[in-house]
Symmetry: C2
């Protein structure tokens, strides 16, 4: 749904702090203050409809979209209510048709801000996709200070900008004095007005005419202010790309290749869509609806602008702010630790360690694992050569941008020019899974369904498994023979994201874990044989793959492996704020126990387990788990039939896999990945950018996507609507024609 912003049309949504606070009288006054006003009442109940009143007492255009006779809340009055989508579309097309005729217009709501719309949705939520600037009519009656301030807060926490507050003057209760101070302090235009004549059986029309004539001039300057604010909003948006270009240092961006006109200005976001500003739409609507095709760097789970998460964040902010988590505990931190430990359903994992993002969560994981393996094999750190403990991993892995975890990945474009980078480890090559020409394939092996690829019980008995096992074992033997030393295995289960959406053969990953766990990494032979424990700690980096991103609660469950450490972030907070939790087994935890403080895990950021993040994570986990157990994704699952499923349709993946320019593709959970044929591969490739550009040119809505070299991927939130996903799929296919 495209929001509305036009230079020539100063449109506002009129909300009331309560019912009967005089919204329509104020609207009439505002319409009388300009020569060409428009008044739109989307939904009206009761027989003396508001738009008729405005029509009678002003010269503006008026319209009501849906009228219901009974003077009760629309959700009760409406017999066959329009859908919210229809309602919003009608508002948008009405305003569009008015854009040449009026320059100031009001879209008046019914009742208070949270009064239900026809289908029962609170109006503040229902109209949010339009995010029109708000004129709030405050309540002049006893108790009106409270309802006005609360209404303001409810609007604000939904991302509305309140541009003006108006209220009638009541000399006895004097709400206008208090509210005037309150809103002026917050930079909001405030205006108080004499009360209209009391409603009487007769003479009402004359008295109101008098009133409107008397007061008509008083709002002229306010209307001018509102027009100025609208112009300023557009000017701001107009200038933002240029200002950002000269101020912000963008992550993962070669600025020499970045032109200010390539910077997308995002006015707001809602569900799966951005509202982006179109600087060229001088006389047209200046906002476009743009599907967030990267799920905002893989973070989005429960939709942008989610009012439940906003309230959840505000609750924790109001209850605590931040409180130090050292020798203390607060409810959201404890609840999250317990909930996440239950969620991963891994009997090994017993301890939750908090950090701020996936990268720092992995730094903690590496520190944990190295300590445990050094203790296990009695490696000391006294000699410099004893410090050369490496990581076992997979080629194409990526665990974050801090230098410690950069060292956990093999040399690549991502790190080779970081002055302090020193890859410390060995990285196994592995076969990938993809659909090519309608068939799921791993190397030369074909599978009748994706389910079969994940059927590890069967596949572990196959020759492929034997081959994997032998190859891994012999590699490890030869590495140890070279004097190499390793302290942990790190795996991104199933999909290696930043490495290019590499869908690793789950059989290979599983076999790697199995071999590493049974292998003797002792390099000193000073450990008495009888005390030898084998293997290395296994770290699963679930930052991208966990928490339903691939359709399951954990990505470890695809491999049926219980790691010793697992790291969770991104979706953990439903896509709102940074937070990471590193879970560890009691054995790992015990490796830090001693009588010396210095042996402890001396890691911890100031905002460790910040209540806002923890509370949002608790509520996100709850909501995701509820969606899972209530069959929220049933329709998608039925589309795929096998246990493995995706938000993206099975038939789309099949069709794409036949396309001549496609090398292979797959879909899993929220992820769709298409590898294009290209001469240069890897991060430096410029393939896929043609499709990326074409996706930006969609008409009804476009798609903002990211590419990884020659891989184009799309990612949707867990709450994405099926019809919208299917519409994006059509757009995608059209870009391939």
């Amino acid at each position: 749904m495209q929001a509305i912003l036009r230079r020539g049309l100063h449109a506002h949504q009129v909300y009331g702090a309560n019912t009967n606070v005089g919204k329509t009288v104020v609207s009439t006054l505002l319409c009388n203050a300009v020569p060409n006003a428009g008044f739109l009442k989307p939904v009206s109940t009761g027989d003396d409809a508001d738009h008729t009143h405005v029509q009678r007492f002003s010269k503006g255009i008026t319209k009501c979209l849906y009228e219901f006779d009974e003077p009760i809340s629309p959700h009760l009055a409406a017999v066959s209510p329009p859908s919210n989508k229809e309602l919003l579309s009608s508002i948008r097309s009405t305003l569009t048709s008015w854009s040449k005729k009026v320059d100031f217009c009001l879209v008046e709501t019914a009742g208070g801000v949270h009064s239900p719309g026809p289908d029962g949705t609170s109006q503040a939520d229902l109209y949010r996709p339009l995010r029109l600037p708000v004129i709030l009519i405050a309540d002049y009656r006893l108790g009106g200070i409270s309802s006005s301030v609360s209404a303001y807060e409810s609007l604000k926490m939904r991302g509305y900008d309140v541009h003006a507050v108006l209220v009638f003057q009541d000399g006895y209760y004097r709400n206008h004095e208090y509210l005037g101070d309150y809103f002026t302090k917050r930079g909001i235009q405030f205006c108080s007005l004499p009360l209209p004549p009391p409603k009487k059986e007769t003479g009402d029309v004359d008295a109101m005419t008098d009133y409107y004539q008397r007061e008509s001039g008083s709002l002229t300057s306010l209307v001018e202010e509102l027009k100025t604010k609208n112009a300023e909003r557009i000017d701001q948006l107009q200038s933002m790309a240029e200002r950002a270009h000269s101020t912000i240092w963008y992550p993962f961006t070669q600025h020499q290749n970045l032109d200010s006109k390539d910077i997308t200005v995002i006015d707001s976001a809602y569900s799966d869509y951005f509202q982006t500003f179109d600087p060229k739409a001088e006389d047209e609507n200046m906002l476009s609806s743009s599907f967030d095709g990267s799920a905002s760097w893989w973070t989005q789970g429960l939709g942008h602008g989610n009012p439940e998460l906003a309230l959840s964040a505000a609750y924790a902010a109001g209850r605590y702010g931040h409180v130090i988590l050292a020798g203390t505990v607060h409810q959201p931190a404890l609840e999250l630790a317990e909930k996440l430990l239950r969620h991963v359903d891994n009997p090994r994992l017993k301890r939750a360690f908090f950090t701020d993002n996936g990268s720092t969560g992995m730094e903690a994981a590496v520190k944990m694992a190295l300590r445990a393996s050094c203790q296990q094999y009695q490696w000391k750190l006294s000699k410099p050569e004893d410090k050369d403990i490496g990581i076992l991993g997979l080629k194409g892995s990526y665990h974050g941008d801090t230098m410690g975890v950069m060292d956990c990945s093999e040399p690549s474009t991502f790190n080779e020019r970081v002055e302090w980078y020193r890859g410390r480890g060995y990285w196994f090559d592995f076969p990938v899974v993809k659909m090519t020409k309608g068939t799921w394939q791993v190397e030369d092996e074909k599978f009748s369904s994706l389910d079969k690829v994940f059927d590890l019980d069967t596949r572990l008995k196959s020759e492929t498994a034997d081959r994997y096992r032998e190859s891994i074992t012999s590699t490890l033997n030869s590495l140890l023979a070279q004097g190499r030393r390793f302290g942990a295995l790190i795996v991104e289960p199933v999909i290696l994201g930043a490495g290019g959406m590499l869908f690793a053969d789950p059989l290979f990953q599983r076999t790697l874990v199995d071999v590493v766990r049974s292998f003797d990494f002792d390099t000193l032979s000073t450990v008495p044989a009888e005390s030898k424990t084998k293997g290395l700690p296994v770290i699963f980096d679930e930052v991208f793959t966990g928490l339903y991103r691939l359709g399951r609660g954990t990505s470890a469950s695809f491999l049926n492996v219980h790691p010793d450490i697992s790291v969770h972030a991104k979706l953990l907070t439903g896509g709102l704020v940074p937070l990471s939790v590193t879970l560890a087994s009691e054995e790992i935890f015990e490796a830090f126990a001693s009588h010396e403080k210095a042996d402890a895990l001396l890691h911890g950021h100031s905002y460790t387990a910040h209540p806002v993040g923890c509370q949002v994570a608790v509520d996100s986990l709850r909501q995701m788990a509820e969606m899972d157990s209530s069959g929220h994704w049933k329709e998608y699952q039925q589309d795929w039939k096998d246990g493995i499923w995706s938000l993206w349709s099975k038939s789309l993946v099949e069709r794409m896999s036949h396309h001549p320019s496609v090398d292979g593709c797959f879909a899993l959970g929220g992820v769709l990945s298409i590898e294009l044929k290209d001469t240069t591969s890897g991060y430096n490739s410029n393939a896929a950018q043609t499709i990326q550009q074409a996706l930006l040119k969609g008409t009804e809505s476009n798609v903002h996507s990211r590419v990884l070299g020659n891989v184009l991927y799309l990612m949707a939130s867990l709450t994405a609507k099926k019809d919208e996903i299917r519409q994006i799929e059509s757009l995608l296919e059209s870009c391939f024609k």
Copy 2:
């Protein structure tokens, strides 16, 4: 202010969604549903006072604390209003005196949730320090759905727990049906009641008596539920320490030394105080007010539970959630970048790079500086020895817990047992500033005031400056002669926090910067002499010291130095959520420009510039700057007279410096630091813990503090109240007796 929680006294705050929704009738019904009820009306206006009604129709104890005759809002009715502190104290002492007599009690507010209290503060804010569980009386009238939901949101975003919602049944508007669904879905007890008889001139008493008799039984089960919730809350708090002990892996904590009974359970926090749970107070009040003496690991600026910051966070969550910051821009990110660049008032700094915390902000800073110096001196990374570029710094420095920035500090307790730690650099020893026996001293040099220590214009001409300059220069010469190579200077200006609150001689820091900037670090002598630029990039780690923590907008201003890179976090968000900004000069930025994507700064977390953090930071920066310009700290500044000032009193520092067990002390901005005499110094020392323990035993309120070895420090937020600070000072002094 101690909040109220007792096992035997089930106390609730009754809030109304609006005025005239029947709060008092519902309260009367509730009081009739138990044998021993108490009804407290803190503030009543109008002659037919609510507590008289409850008194007439129930057997409970009733009391009104402040009565005003006129039936208008208390802020207008009160002639000489009580202070909020008095009001809260009266409530607390009333409930305490009732605790043996009643087991269920209600504290009824006036009007709606935001109706102003006697001094004009919204009741929702005024009563927040008590954080009693809430019974919300919803509005049964037309428009009541909206006002009820908004009232709920206003309470929730202040950290209240709403335990029950009650509403009258109106068969026509049927709000109770909608609200019943709404609140039940959110796990809140909901109850609807028949409307009481209409108010009539006569017969009111009889009709009401009938009504109460008829309905009295209907709320018995609700009251039981409320009592159960109260008991559950206490049981939860009771169990939390034990559960945390077995689930949470604490940062910087040797778990072997941690007993579950040493874990402080924090129920909530407000302004500078935690509400901590006292598990031993079986029959007494179970919450204590505890001053947050570490400013929650140095993060707090604008007070815990700040409703403005909560709304600011909720606004950004509602407007955006998170949006990807790659090739895009959103208002809060741009506004923060521009605002912070203006704030630091450093003509060199032109670019803002976002990360999630101080540690990652420093990782980015190091990557930036190393690239710039390698380019400047044409060092290549092709040969392994060319990778050996170190950092120049100060002994006792600390820049975060990720491994890359751990390598920027010299070997110490913090890093020596981290398997991958390799200190890369050279760290200068430096003289410290402290007050000893009433005199400010740096080594043997005495100063008449702290101002004189910072008078660098004069001191730069002194012999001490010459000595510093020569010593630093000769050290650098000898390091280069050994073949060492350096890429950046990193300084925590003025105070090295984690190293033990080391107050470095500003003259030394300034001289170090000056020498490093004029020194030739070329180690290849392949660079043609004419193209030589001298010096190294200077990074200021202002994570702890910046943004008014030391009383000034930047800590760089104390040294009158313009660094090339500066890193900001902690106070940046006023103390709410993690966020860091690394600012850099255009020269540093340009070092990453090339035609190759791989040369870019390939760093960036998924939640880069998350709108919630950026918006909160924008609003925090605005508020802090307003406090500065409006003379908010004038009283403290007058206490110190010289330009250098602290929230902690000058006389306290003087007195402490004379104490026989004190080695030295200082105060600067929000920081008070006391170094105790001790045989073992450093992080492993157990000194200062005696004082720390004594501070926890304060009576009216206690102090939760952190120690750094033999250094005890206290830190207050920027909004700390003077009388409270002075009270903490008295407590501190009493602990030294």
